[in-house]
């Protein structure tokens, strides 16, 4: 079975632009979470979606938005890019939302903002 897939692998944008990152969860998984990982730090939680509804949001500005589609894939959108948005964006899927639910991570999208 395919794992979590993310696209694109790498992306270079300039300040002020907009970016859309995509994630396909493991087949059968209904929950998707997004994380931002700045170089040298641990991941920071951005969003969690379950059954197409937002279940959690981290401490990120409104420039960050996301959605989940009926097939459980997800998009993360970032508007008005800043240099500080340069990071590895990780998507994780899990069967459901709840305690002890193991998350499976994709390889990430490396975003560079110039």
């Amino acid at each position: 079975d395919a794992g979590v897939t993310q696209s694109p692998t790498h992306l270079i944008k300039t300040r002020g632009q907009h970016v859309t990152l995509r994630c396909s969860p493991i087949s059968g998984h209904k929950s998707v979470s997004w994380y931002q990982q700045v170089l040298g730090q641990g991941p920071q939680f951005i969003f969690q979606y379950y059954e197409k509804e937002e279940r959690g949001r981290g401490n990120f500005p409104d420039r960050f938005s996301a959605r989940q589609f009926p097939n459980y894939s997800s998009e993360l959108n970032v508007n008005a890019l800043l240099l500080g948005d340069s990071a590895l964006y990780l998507c994780a899927s899990s069967l459901v939302v709840g305690r002890y639910n193991e998350q499976f991570f994709g390889p990430g999208t490396r975003l560079t903002v110039l």
Binding site: Q41, F45, L88, V97, Q103, F104
Partner: protein, 111 residues
């Protein structure tokens, strides 16, 4: 903000030696998880220990949890070159099941 803090930030040992990494956290948790990340890519789940457990084993991995001290340790025995990676602890909060991560320990195994 990050919940956990790993210690040390970096660790370099010889192949065959044991590696111990520590994690401290601040608030009450459902469980604590350890992940491995190679070369800044995707994270691989290693082991999950529940808040009512004190020790757990998986192959060469041994994890302990002390909820009174809000700390955990990950022991990798008989290290191999392939264990070279960054190791992160993540805590799951009771209120919203979100994972809060530490900054990681970078482990280098020298052949």
């Amino acid at each position: 903000s990050q919940q956990g803090e790993e210690d040390p930030q970096a660790l370099s040992i010889q192949e065959g030696e044991n590696a111990t990494m520590n994690c401290s956290y601040k608030t009450s948790i459902n469980n604590l998880q350890w992940y491995r990340q190679n070369s800044g890519r995707g994270l691989v789940h290693l082991i999950l220990i529940r808040s009512n457990e004190r020790e757990k084993h998986s192959g060469r991995l041994r994890v302990t949890l002390d909820t009174s001290k809000k700390s955990s340790s990950l022991l990798i025995t008989a290290s191999r070159a392939a264990d070279t990676a960054s190791y992160f602890c993540a805590t799951e909060k009771d209120s919203n099941y979100q994972l809060i991560w530490g900054a990681g320990t970078k482990l280098i195994i020298k052949p």
